[in-house]
Amino acid sequence: MSGEAPGILIVGAGPAGTRAAETLVAHGMAAILVDEGQRSGGQIYRQPPQGFTRPAEALYGFEARKARSVHAALASLGEALDYRPGTLVWNIEKGIAHTLGPDGVGRIAFDSIVLATGAMDRVIPFPGWTLPGVFTMGGAQVALKAQGCAIGEPVVFMGTGPLLYLVAYQYVHAGARVAAVLDTSRAGAAIPVLPGLLWGGRTFAKGLWYMTWLRAAGIPVRAGITPVAADGERALEAVLYRDRRGRERRIACTGLGIGYSVKSEVQLAELAGCEMAFDPLAQQWLPEADEDGRALKGSIYLAGDGAGVAGADAAELRGRLAALALLADRGIAIDRALQARLRGRLRRIMRFRNALERALPAPFHLARTLPDETVICRCEAITAGDIRQGRALEPAELNRAKAFTRVGMGRCQGRVCGPAAAQILAAARGCDVAEVGRLRGQAPVKPLSIRAGAAAAVEDRARAASI
């Protein structure tokens, strides 16, 4: 044991974790905040490494003000918060978080924990998607935001969801050559009539704005397409798709960003002991929690996209609400009027999100009908056919399929292939995807790098520099 008395631990320094930390500190609480990233901000407000010079406006566009505010909020906490960047939590059990940080492995004892672990791209595999040059939409965005690079020349973006038009816009804006934006949804712009969408008019208007801007910039935008394949000998050379009339098309490109909105990162919540429930809208198993993010049992609080995807503004609200719930549970006086206001704002966003998810469901039918030879698990090259052959197993638990075909046993633990694999298995069995069960989170949630040599090298460099 570390000898320290257990306290409050927050995992994740994105908008949710940052606002949770800020709220706790404002109430005089001590807390530890860890994030595996070197710099705070999470996905949307990700900061490039030291030495990069583009201003917030160039990095975050419309969201520059919010990005600055979230970064400043964390910086302002100073010594009052024990912030530990570069620290991965790879397991949680019995009030102990197991970490891997700059000084190697460690343990943090806690009596309350706020999990603000965020989200990653939702991926639907298709033939050729393992070729060099194919990235997730988020990966393409990280290349630009945090490294100043485009994923190819020219680039195509394919999939659906808010990131599709946003990332394409950011690329064109930064001077990248974008050959096309291919949207699997037909609806495109034709849905603002849904009553729920009125609640999020601003968010929705932004999506429309990006799409219109791209068209005006002469970028071909095609809706209602079906992905066919990523093509290339040793690396990506072109993307093949069928247009809405069913004609096959080919676009030459060396970079392809794919994604179908995002999905919650839930492994730690599960290891911490949260009850999991299948969310039919997200088509994902999510930790159960009340409106404020209070898990059903234990002193576990969930905040931000890790507790179900609702976006960055909601993440800030949910970070605050989770912290307020934690404080209230400890008998600390909180501002109930503020809590009510935050809940109201969150409800409006959730209404919009739900309407959007319903209007633009992830096209999982694309996964169910993939040819047998398509690689689904990119860690271990397991194909759709392998998964389908696992269907004789009873009960039809994805964990059994995993034992059979090893889907989800690869390095990524099914983060990438899990949702598609579940859909393929469900289709093969003719059952609902909720019935095939889920891949359980396992420790370590990410492979631990053997850094001994690297650490020694860093020390050597430091020594060399000081001589």
Partner: protein, 104 residues
């Protein structure tokens, strides 16, 4: 189309901004490659046309995918035997990356 043999033709990442950073040199299989301070190892290798790895199961060339530490498809080895996730590791001057004999 001719075979993309020169590293230039096979560049996978294209620099658009932030190119004024100080240069660093890393080594891939002994070959010196130029990179910029603050590059991740993934950026540095792909900007030099080096594909990161081959998949152990189907032998296919791989060059990362998520670029954010989630998919684990970018692990590479250093010459000292340590293994790193290329998309979340910043390069340092003199970094020596192992290149497998069949490096793609």
């Amino acid at each position: 189309m001719s075979e993309p043999s020169s590293t230039e033709a096979a560049c996978r990442l294209v620099r658009l901004a932030e190119t004024g950073r100080p240069g660093v040199t890393i080594h891939h299989g002994g070959r010196p490659l130029s990179a910029l301070a603050g590059d991740t190892l993934l950026t540095a290798l792909l900007c030099n046309g080096v594909t990161l790895r081959r998949n152990e199961f189907d032998g296919g060339p791989r060059a990362g995918f998520c670029n954010m530490g989630a998919c684990q498809d970018c692990w590479v080895a250093l010459e000292d035997g340590s293994r790193l996730r290329a998309c979340t590791t910043e390069v340092w001057d003199g970094m020596r990356v192992h290149a497998p004999d069949d490096a793609p």
